[in-house]
Amino acid sequence: MAATDPEDSLDSWSIRTIVATMFPILIALSILEMGSGYVLEELEETYLANPTLLVLVPVMIGMGGNLGAILSSRLSTRLHLGLLEFDPRDEVLWTNVIAIMGLAITIFSALGLIAWVVGQTIAAPMALADLMLISVVSGMLLAAIATVLSIAATYISYTQGLDPDDTTIPVVTNVCDILGVVVLSVVAIVVLN
């Protein structure tokens, strides 16, 4: 865009425009996030009785989105370059999925172990086996959700003629943000009972 008119180019940088564009999106996201908060509030007793579970919460909220963002941006770049086909036998697709699953198992095993160490020092300790099981099972479920979402969102934006760079990453990260706490809570309840 050749922004020669200074008033015109300033317009998209006006406070009013930025707030009017962002604020409705933020309100919608906050309302959706309340679903995730409701699960935390419902399970307040479990979380407050096992504060080590709270150590897992920020990583569970953020990491699915991180994995999805890496996969989405890689898929959309390969798509732009014509190196990717949406075929279940496509090698590029599987190579990327395997790398993401490898990253997930490393990160969530480390999370379980470090959270156990933290729990020994700051909070009421939990059994190492329980924590590892909760962290790895919910982490791998989240990674699987992030993978399916990334592939589906990239495919849909591609067929709709949208640029996946603008659409997939915000969708994937926000959906994973919301599902992180839900998946963690369900797995924790199953393991602890």
Binding site: I15, I18, M22, L40
Partner: protein, 191 residues
Amino acid sequence: MEARQEAWRIYRESLPILAVSLAGGIFAGSVLGSEGMTDGFERFPGLLLLLPAFLATRGNVYGAMGARISSGLHQGMIDPSFSWDRRLVNAVVASFINGIGISVFIAVLSWGILHLLGRESARLVELVGIMLVSGVLTSVTLIFGLLALVFASYEYGLDPDNLIGPIVTTLGDIFGVVFLFVAITVVGGIF
């Protein structure tokens, strides 16, 4: 096999940034699991309800600001320094309004939801006070911290686009939770 080497390369390239994000998340989680924080959750019902929204909106507000500043730099519309440039000032003020405004909205929303459900809730003024204090502190820290990092990386010839996402989530987790702790302590002391 070639695919195997390729998968291994993606793994090695992505692991360091995820490890940094993991460290930030575990630090934030340790603050959440600490006794002062769990006491706060018990004392102010509604804080657990608003926690995911509070943490998640950080990434959206400041990620969007970072992306805007980065495009502005690439297009030569703004200079990589702190100055009274109209565009820079507007972007910063708008982020303050978005960040602080949404924090207050989240507090009112949680209070409303708990009342509609007939559940126990902290007083509206307490929840709004906590969100206002933590919203203001995180906004100031994240906006100026992010600008400094984006300008510095641009000056060093790094593309800020590749750094903003992970920087925002990591700083957002750490400062969001620390300032939430500060806000609970301050508001707990007043009321």
